[in-house]
Symmetry: C2
Amino acid sequence: MTADKPLRADARRNREALIARARELFDSGDFFDLRFDDFAALAGVGVGTLYRHFPTREALAEAVYHHEVATLCDRARHLRATLPADEALATFLRGMVDHIDAHEGLARTLATLMATGSGALAEGSRALEQAVTDLVAAAVAGGAVRDDVGAGAVMMALHGIGAAHDRPDWRAEADGVITLVLDGLRRPR
Amino acid sequence: MTADKPLRADARRNREALIARARELFDSGDFFDLRFDDFAALAGVGVGTLYRHFPTREALAEAVYHHEVATLCDRARHLRATLPADEALATFLRGMVDHIDAHEGLARTLATLMATGSGALAEGSRALEQAVTDLVAAAVAGGAVRDDVGAGAVMMALHGIGAAHDRPDWRAEADGVITLVLDGLRRPR
DNA sequence: AGAAGATATGGAGACGATCTCCATTTGTCA
DNA sequence: TGACAAATGGAGATCGTCTCCATATCTTCT
């Protein structure tokens, strides 16, 4: 998919500086508050260079998002390998709340990006969704979880949690959503 | 809160024309695709007039959002008066999905607005949230619903549904979320 | 090492959208 | 109807985005 052309040494260096800076802004939630020109200066490159590497804000965001998703997917895989299916799912979802809580800025940035409909995040999101889908599928196979509600619904709920990070009582409400989802998923007997 | 100064006749007329146009764009989802200047022309007023009435895009959005929310709140009140508490809640939430489905553009617009963190919608949102809170409280009082998860969690889930309107399998997933929330809310015995 | 060719750079300036300002028009009230 | 206040509109200032290309930097070949 990514037909990497061999990149010149200085080019790679700049590209990486750009991503590193972007990651910081992503985390601090200032990703959208900074003029794109200034961002280039901040990373120590000219505007032209910035635009060549990342034609749009979204393209830049995508690059940062990638790492993030990879981490989360690893966690999902690890849980799936070490816990019973239903516990793995529960632990992962609870952990997501912790994660979002710990990276408020990042969550805000992502939510904005998604709502903007950029679509550039689609690939990264797909990976994350796949991880959740696997988790749910395993739990369904284990018999602890109903099979008439897909993983997509869980993703939506997660999205709602991430998008509402500015609510005064966020943490409690986020935990509440997870509780509802988890209890709702329990196979009705 | 709104200390309405008596508005001159032509001013009121323009203001209303502006809101009417905005509502159309809101519904068609083009609210963000149109240059603000052009929007003024479209509504048949000068840019200056537009800016005087609504200093920002968000201010304009707020005005439109108000009507929308009022409708939904009425529905909630009506359901609460005519159905048992738990059915009222269920019907309202299911109805929200229908409503969002029927007004895709509006949902997209709102989601974008919220994610952007404009905050201008806070007041309108509060009204909607109050309606949901009342619905949940009544259901809790009726004993059909657990009391350890607040209405805020339901709002988050709703938000997730609205924000993800571009998912290919949206309708089914949205219904899934509502199912999870409703089943999750049922008082565990 | 040094020259030729390929690749990448930076930032001036074109462009396009937002918003301000005030001379003019329109409504209101006595 | 005259006088005053309120509202208007659009020309142009302002500011962020993005393009373009003369210059600088890497790489490769001899």
